[in-house]
Symmetry: none
Subunit: 196 residues, 4 copies
DNA sequence: AATGAATGAGGATTCATTCAT
DNA sequence: AATGAATGAATCCTCATTCAT
């Protein structure tokens, strides 16, 4: 980071291969799970030899950690003037992202591997969960300032109340309900409205 | 013909072994995940030979399906006269059960395996998620009858709002917050109170 | 054999089961080969438990030896007044029997197992090959007496010359040639005709 | 593009190992039979890891097919001016080869496996049976041209008459008779002699 | 006698990783 | 740098056999 590195001798590593490997790894992690996915599959999908992977990441866990770390799964939030609309939009983007990347399986993998490779869940939190929570929290704080929400409301709990129904619905097999975001927002706004 | 059951020929199958295998399988499923867990581990944990397992269940998937199916993870609900107390108790029992059986890892495994062994998630829903939801829903319906909750409230959404924060908290790394159940109940009751 | 046996106490063994097991074993030996065939398959085919098999024969080799020993695969020869017709009929019955019982596979199995279970090939010889050879040899000896065949002809070699083309044809992939028996007989008769 | 062969990347595959594996496989196929032989045995005999085998051949059947295909079991025919001597030499070489490679057991294995792995018998035919038959047939055709054998003689049948006694003798337990080749040749020549 | 349970040994195959080119 | 070869450990599963009922 501070310029101490000598310029690497020999052929430089191909950046395209780096990217292809990481992407393939992430997709396979989501579709197969940690243990079921094999490095051969990653190599095949990335059009690269297995050794090329090991040249960059020492172990399977290293590779998958890197793949999760490289994942950018929070889109920039959609702007709007209205609190309710803002919240609903963030939640809908959240759901769309999860659907797009086979996210529930990926979440499942990270949960299942927590005992063996806790970095996975940690990274998932850091890269995908927490940024989204920050967006929601910022919106709620703004609403607190404007008096739309009680001052003493627990905003972290409110954020969990906004996101939670998505998980609960999925677990119940009622995932995909088009109303869920609006219902969650309305419930939270009703429950935290100033003057209640 | 007087009794419907003919006495089974041969040596009877050991019920203790049945139970030991299923329990070991479930614990390992939670602690290791589907693919990482091996039948050898199950056999060792249950003090049984691998063949004894295969005698009862043809494949690994069969065994784990049976283990999940046999799991009784919803305790009988604690009775109480007060709506709020009832709901909180159900939620706390829910959380306690999940902690007791390493439930988030188990849920993760079922989510991760959904593409390959969908029966796992289906069973988890049927045996653990839906019974708990039914308890909550019954309590809410009662409250609707007594006028504590609006008649037009979407009770399924309310149930998801009650359970959801638990998942969301866990994903955010704030699992174990002792307040979550009360907060969730209060929010839902506030948001669906009749006369709002 | 000399009356020394005490009358067996307890329930006598079922003769039907004996027969069913032996027949199933022989069929599976032919269709699957020694190693590939399993005692479970035999048990299932004979509608009997595996233990019932082991009760009668101590090992797999014992069972299959018994099955081969019990096999009666030489039909009584068809009578006729003419030497050539007699020989052709014997050969055709030979070929028909082999086709009926999947004989080439059975022969193959006995050959393949010769190093491990030489009794199989020995029994096959004793029960199926040699009786047929005796039929042929008897007919040739009769022909020698009537002067149709040279006195100094090697009859064992002649018998092999009669049967051999069947094997050679099969190995060459030309098994089933309808002419083979007549051609073999004609060749042998021409080659051993008295006065050549 | 000037040379058609690009230099293969990576470490080249060891030709010695290839050969050692194939030879070990063939020997074990003959001595143990298809099902009894294990890849572990092959690996041990070839001083190679099991994975090295799987790297080259995906399945056991593939390996054994390749081993049979690689086997060169027909020596170049011995030249001679005399028809009878030629035929006898070919037959004796045939018998010698079979003895050398435990050929009857190998043949037995291929016959026994015909229902499950028909490629084995097919290859055995193509690589060992048919080439030898071609040698014999060529010699007989030559003899037909020079008038030593009747023009209308069925040469394929004659070839089977030459080879057949070997199989028949073996099945009768009289294999190894030193006279068989001469006797077979004499019989065929006598039976097909022009002018009979 | 007959059955089903129980087991230990062994099978083919896959995988993450290390080596040689 | 990049590749393919090589490997040891581990996996699920099958089988012949022995035990308990």
């Amino acid at each position: 980071m501070s310029g101490t590195e000598t310029k690497a001798a020999g052929r430089p590593r191909s950046a395209e291969k780096d990217a292809a490997i990481l992407q393939a790894a992430l997709e396979l992690l989501a579709s197969q799970g940690y243990t079921r996915m094999s490095l051969s599959q990653v190599a095949a999908a990335a059009q690269v030899s297995k050794s090329t992977i090991h040249l960059r990441w020492k172990t399977k866990a290293d590779l998958l950690t890197a793949a999760l770390a490289a994942a950018r799964m929070t889109d920039t939030p959609p702007p709007s003037g209205d609190l309710r609309t803002n919240l609903v939009n963030i939640l809908k983007d959240f759901a769309a992202t999860i659907e797009r990347v086979n996210g529930m399986a990926l979440i499942g993998t990270c949960l299942a591997e927590e005992a063996h490779t806790p970095e996975l869940l940690a990274l998932l939190r850091e890269r995908t969960v927490l940024p989204r929570r920050t967006l929601l929290r910022d919106a709620l704080e703004q609403a607190q300032l404007t008096g739309q929400i009680r001052e003493d409301a627990d905003l972290e709990a409110a954020v969990s109340a906004l996101l939670g129904p998505f998980y609960a619905d999925y677990m119940a097999g009622r995932g995909g309900d088009p109303q869920w975001a609006e219902q969650a927002v309305d419930l939270v706004l009703a429950g935290t409205r100033a003057g209640n």
